[in-house]
């Protein structure tokens, strides 16, 4: 089974040899299961000049309870792209790990990386595979952003793709947010986003938008100064993906909070 000529896609290979490892292939008993597992909440992504920024709050909720204070929802998909997940946490983590292996597997088998659109399409079909579970309340929605290495204008190489439970991808212009607090985060971004932002400005803007989401959405966690838990902020540029260190995010989050002491509306 390993030596068949087969495919360069790892999920296609799994569907032959170990279909039980694909989240969409499991038979679920009928009925709603929405309250069964923790939900991951708000993610924002911003296209900047020469890169993209993605940030996520750290809260996972189960109904009215906080299931986890320091969950990590933004991850590198490969060397040049980022993926954030909202929705059912367990399935989200599983899909994200599978997506990482999918991209790495293709790169190793073919000796070349997938195009950014190819990666987004691949993720869309993986999300579509989870449609049955999504209809029973176990939906996962990712946000995907990365650098298009083939872009003619390097300043506009950062691109963002959103999805719904039936797949996608939908390319977004400038910025996007997903998850329960996305309404508030997007409203904040709508007023503050300008094209041609630098990566550093976009990082600050992302943290501000998450603060606004946490301000109005109970399922989104704001910067937790007492426990020193800050949003996960990642960037993808032509140099690769980078996760801001705890020191960097704490400095930004503290300055955002300080700004809100003066003006709570930001």
């Amino acid at each position: 089974m390993f030596t068949n000529a087969g495919t360069s896609s790892f999920t296609a290979f799994l569907s032959k040899v170990a279909p039980e490892m694909l989240p969409g292939r499991r038979a679920l008993p009928p009925g709603m299961a929405a309250d069964l597992a923790p939900h991951a909440t708000t993610i924002v992504a911003i296209a900047a000049s020469g890169g993209v920024v993605m940030a996520g709050d750290r809260r996972a909720t189960m109904g009215n309870l906080i299931a986890q204070r320091d969950i990590e929802k933004v991850h590198p998909a490969d060397a040049y792209s980022l993926v954030g997940i909202a929705g059912t946490a367990g399935i989200g983590i599983e899909l994200m790990r599978l997506f990482q292996v999918e991209l790495e597997h293709y790169e190793k088998i073919e000796g070349a990386m997938l195009s950014l659109d190819g990666k987004a399409n691949r993720l869309a079909s993986m999300i579509r595979g989870n449609l049955g579970a999504a209809m029973q309340g176990l939906a996962v929605i990712p946000l995907f952003a990365g650098i298009d290495l083939a872009a003619s204008d390097p300043a506009r190489a950062g691109r963002i793709f959103s999805f719904d439970v039936t797949g996608g991808p939908y390319e977004e212009t400038g910025y996007d947010a997903i998850g329960s607090g996305s309404l508030f985060a997007k409203s904040a971004l709508k007023k503050r986003y300008r094209t041609g932002l630098s990566v550093d400005d976009a990082v600050r803007l992302a943290v501000e938008a998450l603060y606004d989401a946490a301000d109005d959405d109970t399922a989104t966690g704001g910067p937790d100064l007492t426990r020193r838990i800050y949003p996960v902020v990642m960037t993808a540029t032509a140099e690769g993906t980078h996760r801001l260190t705890d020191a960097e995010t704490s400095a930004i989050a503290e300055s955002v909070v300080a700004g809100r002491m003066e003006n709570p509306g930001g």
């Binding site: 390993f2 040899v17 292996v101 000796g111 140099e239």
Partner: protein
């Protein structure tokens, strides 16, 4: 009813071995050696796209000689096995030994069950924390596996090349020295009247498993970096190697989180450190 002529199992095995051995000896050779900074693969290869040396997993590389379609099939199988295990368990649970054993099973089954054995010989190399902890496994056409002591040669006149390697190679060599020794060994055969010859850089496929890296350690050395290594004196060599061997990156907790992509730039050296690879 047609009668089959009797052939003893011994005869059949001998014929198959001979076929495989002849096929492997016809091709060009590959060399795999340990050095201070990792594991070095050098293969004589006229093509720059049909690789004889490839990445399997974070710390595991693959080198092969023989028929391209056959070892390419094995390489893909290896990537699939490694990725499947890495996803099911953890990235750290993918080992060279497990892979070498699987290859032995596949090659052994093909040798005894099919009418034609695979005319290939492959090396599964896993880079360790020190040169002593590197493991090089040689898997041959009949399914046997051998653990090689830090250096090995395959294909063509492998024995002659091994002889040259054995007398010149030491595990504490720098990358530049190791490349020089490997290329010298490959060029020690095949010249006019059995004399030594020089192999040009564009006929070599060179790659390393970089000991100091976290995550995916496999890097190809091509173009200017390769030329610098081949013609360079010691200075050129150390420039291409960067200062990395002296200051290995400490594997961090971050690098082992199951949800961290091994391709992440956070696992690489900081920008500005000219890797040359």
């Amino acid at each position: 009813m047609a009668m089959q002529f009797y052939a003893s199992p011994e005869q059949i095995m001998r014929d198959r071995s001979e076929l495989a051995r002849k096929g492997i000896a016809r091709g060009r050779s590959s060399v795999v050696v340990s050095y201070t900074g990792g594991v070095l693969f050098v293969a004589e290869n006229l093509s720059s796209t049909l690789h004889k040396v490839s990445e399997i997993y974070d710390r595991i590389g693959f080198a092969a000689v023989g028929r391209y379609n056959e070892f390419e099939n094995l390489r893909r199988a290896g990537v699939r096995m490694a990725d499947l295990n890495g996803l099911s368990y953890d990235r750290r649970d993918v080992t060279g030994l497990a892979l070498a054993n699987s290859y032995a099973q596949i090659l052994g089954a093909i040798f005894t069950e099919q009418s034609k054995p695979f005319e290939v010989e492959i090396c599964v190399a896993e880079v360790g924390a020190t040169p002593e902890e590197d493991s090089l496994y040689r898997c041959t056409y009949d399914g046997s596996v051998t653990d090689e002591p830090g250096r090995m040669a395959m294909g063509g006149q492998a024995e002659a090349i091994s002889g040259v390697l054995k007398s010149n190679h030491r595990p504490d060599m720098s990358l530049a020295d190791a490349v020089k020794v490997a290329v010298q060994a490959l060029g020690s055969v095949g010249g006019e009247g059995g004399a030594a010859r020089t192999i040009a850089g564009d006929q070599l496929e060179v790659a390393i498993l970089d000991r100091s890296r976290v995550g995916r350690t496999f890097r190809r050395i091509t173009g200017a970096a390769l030329t610098a290594l081949l013609d360079g004196d010691a200075a050129g060599g150390s420039a291409a190697e960067g200062g990395r061997a002296q200051t290995p990156t400490t594997p961090t907790e971050e690098g082992h989180k199951p949800t961290t992509s091994a391709g992440s730039a956070d696992l690489e050296d900081k920008p500005g450190d000219n890797s040359g690879t």
